[in-house]
Amino acid sequence: MKTNIMFLGAIACACFSYAGHAAKQSNFNPDISLTIDGRYGSYSNDSDYELPGFMLGGEASREEQGFSLGHNELSISDNIDDMFFGKLTTAIAEHEGSTEFEMEEAYIETLAVGNGITVRAGRFFSDIGYLNNQHGHAWDFMDAPLVYRGLFGNQLIDDGLHISWLVPTDIYFKVGAEIIQGERFPAGNTSNDGNGAYTAFAKFGGDVGISNAWQLGFSHWQADIKGRESGSHAHDPGVAVEIPTYSGKSKVSGVDFVWKWSPKGNNRETNLKIQTEYFVRDEDGTVELAGSDPLELTTYQGEQTGWYLQTIYQFIPRWRFGYRYDRLTSDNHGSDTALLAEAGLDSEGHAPERSTVMLDYSHSEFSRIRLQIAKDDSYEDSDTLLFLQYIVTLGAHGAHSF
């Protein structure tokens, strides 16, 4: 007994303070993580990409053909003190031979307002939808669903203020809103002074038994847009560029649902995830061909909808198989149908759809290799796409968000 007590003294740590370090990687340095992403792509069809009925912007395009670098990112984050958390993510990309840094996220977030309230300020991924607030590397497919490509230019990122309230209920119930700048696609210049776009969202979630978990979300985004540009084209080389631009109201509403299953809640061996999102966008305004002389102009009322359904199954440790189906429809009207067509708003009687399968292998939590094949009917010329991708993370341990 005596030796026992002496030993107890020896293994007791002299640190009976409240300080905790163990939830993070090291004591003083912030969490730093570097993501390296490389791809090989092959298409069956070389014609220019389009999504008839949708004005494309942001990063909406097909991924590159052949060998290319994907989204290489450096991310630094940590608790700043006991009140704030801070995060900065830069994407490093090459555009036409020169290396560019793009600020993807730069925000601070409150930790200790209390009563379930969180305030975030800076540049962040909006909390609309399910996929939008996740990094592309955490997505289960290499590319965004078509509805994200068509409506948000792959992902809605903006500068502003986010506030959310976790309601003190037994089931998960969160409501929130964002007021954002609206300079970037799909707002692209708002008529207000740099705070012209808004979002609102509500999320519910819980467990069913020990093996199932779910989340249901509703979200809304809106802006008064002044001059959203979409692509650019010249009628003749060397002649002034004419750019279709949209001004008017824009509203996007969506619903998202995720269901996850793993035997007894242990997702290491096998697990299944089913996820679906639906969005509808309503726009009412005018489209003009900026740079045209005399100025060409048309009224435009449009409704564009899109949804996808995907399921991912980890059938043995490290290996996952997934299938995704995408579909979009649009119903656009205006006084000048030819001009609408120039802006990409003519559906050409075609409803874009895509079927994608993927197989990936994760050697550890820090590395993943993926094969993805898609039959893409975004536009009239059907395309078969094949991609090989690796994603690796160096440094801090990523978080397992739901």
Partner: protein
């Protein structure tokens, strides 16, 4: 207007009607800490356990249900030492709960209260999922449990000073029963001293340190990486010259690798409870150690 506010307040009362009116709401990352908190907190405390014995505490997702629970917690008790690095920081951020921010009294890491084993001198990812703060599975040493329980007592008193007498009484009672049990376990486990055992993952470092058992090898080639055929063959070679008495794993680990090594080396496999709820007989921390020792002895 009055009517509307009344309707709203009734709505929220209905939503929150299942909330317990204990003095301290505990969110325990693992079942062992909920069990310990209940020993010392008694009726002044209600606990919620984020994981079960069937789940690998390294690999949990920050599920909506966990966020809802941690939002209302007065005290979070976790193993720490980065065991929960993949999910706890996210839960803490999403909770919007000012009481449980690391550094405040509502945040308690058990491994922080004791000395840790397996602290790496050098660290990089090629070593697998190693923890810079050392091995986090500290609950498998009853000596450390005793030290942690004392720190937890101090913490409960700091959060709920009105209950000082209550917590002290419960602690004294627990401490006495625990020390008696420890003396008994040590007696029962004497035959295990000096044994060599193959482990699935280095979950058992503290238990073996206490009982004088030697780790004869691990089924995982590196912490966190699944066993490979090649690795099992090299283990077999190593065991030829220096054999092991048994192979142990937890119930959340796939037993296939252990069974395969068992076949090629003729060594028995034992599934140990690892934590509270890990087998039908394990309802609390006392059962955890009695059953573990019983199972180890049963395989001799």
């Amino acid at each position: 207007m009055l009517k509307i506010t009344r309707i709203i307040s009734v709505f929220f009362m209905l939503l929150s009607s299942t909330q317990v009116t204990a003095n301290i709401n505990v969110f325990a990352c693992e079942p062992e800490w909920a069990s310990l908190a209940n020993e010392i907190g008694g009726k002044r405390l209600s606990s919620y356990t984020a994981t079960t014995a069937y789940q690998d505490p390294h690999h949990i997702e920050a599920r909506p249900s966990l966020i809802a629970k941690i939002r209302n917690a007065d005290l979070v008790i976790c193993s720490g030492a980065e065991l929960e690095a993949g999910w706890l920081p996210l839960l803490l951020r999403r909770a919007g709960n000012s009481k449980i921010v690391p550094g405040k009294k509502g945040y308690f890491e058990a491994s922080e209260m004791v000395s840790r084993l397996d602290i790496p001198i050098e660290i990089n990812r090629s070593m697998g999922d190693v923890h810079i703060s050392g091995n986090p599975h500290v609950h498998l040493d009853p000596r450390r449990i005793l030290i942690i329980s004392e720190a937890l007592l101090a913490r409960l008193i700091a959060i709920d000073p009105d209950g000082t007498k209550h917590y002290q009484q419960h602690f004294d009672d627990f401490s006495q029963r625990w020390q008696e049990a420890m003396a008994l376990w040590q007696q029962q486990a004497e035959v295990l001293n000096g044994l060599r055992i193959v482990v699935h993952h280095r979950d058992w470092v503290y238990l073996f340190d206490w009982l004088g058992i030697e780790i004869a090898g691990a089924l995982e080639p590196r912490p966190g990486l699944p066993a490979t055929a090649q690795h099992l063959i090299s283990l077999k070679q190593a065991l030829k010259t220096n054999p092991a008495k048994m192979i142990v794993h937890t119930i959340y680990q796939n037993p296939r690798a252990a069974q395969r090594l068992s076949q090629i080396t003729n060594t028995p496999v034992v599934a140990l409870p690892y934590t509270v709820g890990g087998s039908e007989q394990v309802g609390d921390l006392f059962d955890l150690f009695s059953v573990t020792i019983e199972k180890l002895k049963g395989a001799l």
